[in-house]
Amino acid sequence: MFPTPIEKSSRTWQLSYQALLPAALVLWLLPLIAVAVFSIKPDADFTTGNYWGLPTSFEFVNNYGKVFFQSDMPRYLMNSVLITVPTMIGCVVLSSMTGFALGVYKFRSNIWIFFMFVAGNFVPFQILMVPVRDLTLDMGLYNTKTGLVFFHIAFQTGFCTLFMRNFIKALPFDLIEVARVEGVAEWKIFWHVVLPLMKPALAAMAVLIFTFIWNDYFWAVVLTQGAESQPVTAGITSFNAQYRAAYHLMSAGSIVAALPPVAMFFLMQKHFIAGLTLGAVK
């Protein structure tokens, strides 16, 4: 193990390491801690200039209550859910199919189709802005959640195909051979042999897509406008315009907007990290 395990080092270093850990963590998360503190302060603290002192009163319920009951925030949150969940499902369905096709079968154009997905996924997506906005307008889907979902599914399929294909390629191929010898139809091999083995990869991919799409801002601004279809990342800017200089409410709003992916991460930590670090180890 590198660096040298702490148990094998001197007592003083062990103790200082234990003290260093929380100190480093607080320093690392300082900007976030500041926002969390802001979000429970009363309005008066900001007008009197008490930015960093202790809150004069504890206004957790009040501030978050305002965010949930007196603003468009719940609508934006709902929009985010209605954009994120269908995208997640669409990506899982499409990429388990493409990943299966590219990971199991050998045919001449296989590697080129795979590289098309990978290269498309690396493209700075701004180059797609003008044509995709135009396409969405032509389909009558501009400023709808559906329009956003379609684009997200298509674009994320690139990343997801890379992910699924590499995962399937690492599965034992004998299983498929045996099934073929038994005369099992190819689609049944997909459904009964490969799909069950893909479960961990599907879970990892689903949480990653959830986070990526929930946090998307660029496409939300390009393809939607207004509270009826914008997700929370775009909504937070209009929320902030509404409560300009009301730092306690802006902080509470930001925390609410950031929370779902954070919750997802802590609940599905193992899958999340497995997904992000796929390929980091040979």
């Binding site: 590198f2 660096p3 390491y17 963590l25 690392w28 998360l29 900007p31 500041a34 926002v35 930015y51 960093w52 499409l94 990429s95 199919m97 493409t98 096709a101 199991v104 079968y105 045919f107 296989n110 189709i113 590289f115 098309m116 990978v118 290269a119 498309g120 690396f122 493209v123 701004q126 180059i127 797609l128 802005m129 003008v130 044509p131 396409l135 379609f150 599914i153 298509a154 690139g158 139809a185 190819e186 997909f190 929930w214 946090n215 801002y217 390009v222 990342t233 937070i236 902030n240 802006m250 930001s254 950031a258 992916p261 954070v262 997802m264 990290i273 670090t277 980091a280 180890v281 040979k282």
Partner: protein, 305 residues
Amino acid sequence: MSSSTEAATKASWYKRNEIAATPWLFLIPGVAMFLLYVIFPIFQSINVSFYDWDGLGEAQWVGMGNYEELYWDDAFYVSLRNNLIWLVLYLLAIPAGLFIALFLNQTVTGIRLYKSLFFFPFVISQVVVGLVFTWFYDPTFGLLNQFLAVFGIDPINVLGDERFVTYGIIAAGIWPQTAYCMILYLTGLNAVDPEQIEAARLDGAKGWKMLWHIIVPQLKPATFIAFVVTIIGALRSFDLISIMTNGGPFGESRVLSFYMFEVALSEYGFRMGYGASIAVVLFLIMLCFITYFLWSMYKDEKGGR
């Protein structure tokens, strides 16, 4: 009756060619979506960049006109310069991530929770990161200036000063990116061969020497991924700029992706053609990296099977 015989011949054709046909049937939906929304638009963008077009009316062919205008456009060079600064400084996230990973690669109680909390910034949307850092830099109450005041330094308006603004935004971007690199390296460190370390220890290697000659080479796959995602992240930077400064002050914090958005979709008018030409330049920069990435992956594939 006829339909059932048709179905039968179809089935038999499918049966005879099952292994050749199945991958294509599985690929069709995904490939179709990807072509429609990703591959074709790349070429459409390149095409649009030769026109003068407001997005609604008739497009006017102007040939290289948009690129010629870019050549004389100072704002374009500011954006290009900032993009290069982003690229170079963003890469600092890789060593930073490695050092945090080394710091956390221990087995004391509660270390798992520490690791996840250190990873935290990556999970938060860039919009929120942008807001948080805007307040952090605030000249009247921001923590940064409170901190500087302790040392008797006058407040700095990071986001309002054209000398500092790009660096200020990049620092905000490096924060989550470092967290990502850290998690990659933590996974990589887990898989480092303990026998090699023991052997090197017996040979008297330790500290920096050990890190550089024994550990870092074994972390190569993690470094490759960290490099790929960091480069892509740097070139896609948009959210932070839009939230923190909206390109200001005086357009000094623009990057190409932001400038093209401004030209094509904001109050500066709907100049789709000009915007597309900026996107094409960004694409060409990225193409150098994409070619390199694909080439590395291709070599890997050849070696693999």
